[in-house]
Symmetry: C2
DNA sequence: TGACATTTGTTCTTATATCGCACAAAATGA
DNA sequence: TCATTTTGTGCGATATAAGAACAAATGTCA
């Protein structure tokens, strides 16, 4: 790609959109400028453009995103076959085992949920398509890391902010590399309250007809309902059955 | 806003992202150019930029969006208080009545789901935050139209593509204006298989402490389980209770 | 309260990047 | 093969980015 095939304005605008988040529902021009590292004048132009297009709202002081922004993510979810293909399988699986089931893919150091069938939520975390979790401490994340060449997985772990969500969270790179190696060998990952106390999960890879891993599938269960040792016994077989059924459908 | 405060490149790039959708999971440069009305050279630069940033993938022929695009919508969902505030109420409501419950807002002629608690899906439609439905034939859409001044509602109906999803779909503007008037008076809307055969729903407005309508709340039920006449009797009270509880929380 | 300091938003200018056209090259398919 | 369609590139005209300067708002302290 030539230098001139890159549209700086587009990259900057997208960066500004991403600046909104958890702790930043509303941004002033200066805040957006600081978060993105863009010049105030440029950040302002991006925000005004987004407002003009209806993607943001401006009250003279603060900018906030409008639901129109969801069109962008929706373009992906409706354009990509994976979410549609897996959804009915997730629904059946979730019903069968009485727990939530999800499918996610890797994006950098995070897993991104692309489909989910949830049972009544008892957890504090509210997950839906588009939600993100750090890969290193999520069952699907570990499975997806295990599919990469070890050096790549290690590189991603090094890039990750390894923090302890609970006392059980593994945060050592070597410890995690070892864990990922084990998962690669056994073909599934179990997370026992590493992300949130009271939550356990188990995941397997989803491979396409040619054997390439395209996503991960998991089941999450309240710790109060399912003992740590039971996770594998109860859920591994159903997960593998679904993975098997999906295989020819993930061209 | 001055002319020069508008970044054309950003607007064009966003337009290209939106070009991906239902029937267009993968686009060539020429296709993107035709769908957006942009010059081929420009569409190409937008696509290459998106690929460079990791928002799209390019195999030399086709471009497709990557899950990274979901970051953008996620910026909204995590930055906006509404989805987080209503989620626990939705979960409880859904559990209580044994049906799916959702909250949505209006974006142009469409309703956009911002939160949802779903029971096992029996419908062909798979809805999740970010999903869109035409306002004129969705219960939440009618409720939201009813909150607008009549002329504005009529204008939106005129802009809508009024098509018959089922034999029961109302598609006449005057007919719909009349229906919306009725809904404004009674404070709730019932949709009886207008969007999909076998699906009924009922919606009420969510108003904030100052009485402004900020969203709509609904319950959807399989027609086989709940008779048309029963919708109001069974679900209106629970919906209104939740709307009441939420009122002080929607600052 | 009023003067000063600081922060934030807006405007201006110019070097630079982008747009869209026209043309060339490559791929597609009859 | 030749016609047709699609993709890539060079170029002049035009739009945009950056930073500094200016203006307005906000905060601070005597």
């Amino acid at each position: 790609m030539r230098e001139t095939d890159f549209i700086g304005g587009l990259a900057k605008g997208l960066k500004v959109i991403e600046a909104f988040g958890e702790t930043q529902p509303r941004l002033t021009i200066t805040e957006a400028s600081k978060l993105t590292g863009l010049d105030r004048a440029t950040a302002r132009r991006c925000l005004l453009t987004l407002a003009e297009l209806g993607f943001a709202h401006y009250d003279g002081k603060f900018f906030s995103l409008t639901p129109r922004i969801l069109r962008l993510g929706h373009a992906y979810l409706s354009a990509t076959p994976l979410p549609h293909v897996v959804q009915p399988f997730l629904d059946r699986l979730s019903e069968e085992v009485g727990q939530s089931a999800s499918v996610s893919v890797l994006d950098g150091t995070e897993v991104v949920y692309v489909a989910r069938a949830s049972q009544r939520r008892v957890m504090s975390i509210n997950l839906s398509p588009g939600s993100r979790l750090p890969a290193y401490c999520a069952s699907m994340g570990r499975v997806l890391l295990a599919q990469l060449p070890e050096e790549e997985a290690r590189a991603l772990l090094n890039q990750s902010t390894l923090r302890s969500f609970t006392p059980k969270t593994k945060t050592g790179v070597e410890e995690l590399v070892e864990e990922v190696r084990k998962i690669r060998a056994q073909g599934f990952a179990v997370i026992d309250e590493e992300l949130e106390l009271g939550l356990r999960s188990i995941a397997v890879p989803l491979t396409d007809a040619r054997g390439r891993t395209v996503a991960a599938l998991n089941i999450g269960a309240p710790a109060a309902r399912v003992a740590a040792k039971e996770m594998e016994a109860q859920f591994l077989a159903p997960l593998r059955t679904v993975a098997q059924q999906l295989r020819p459908l993930l061209g």
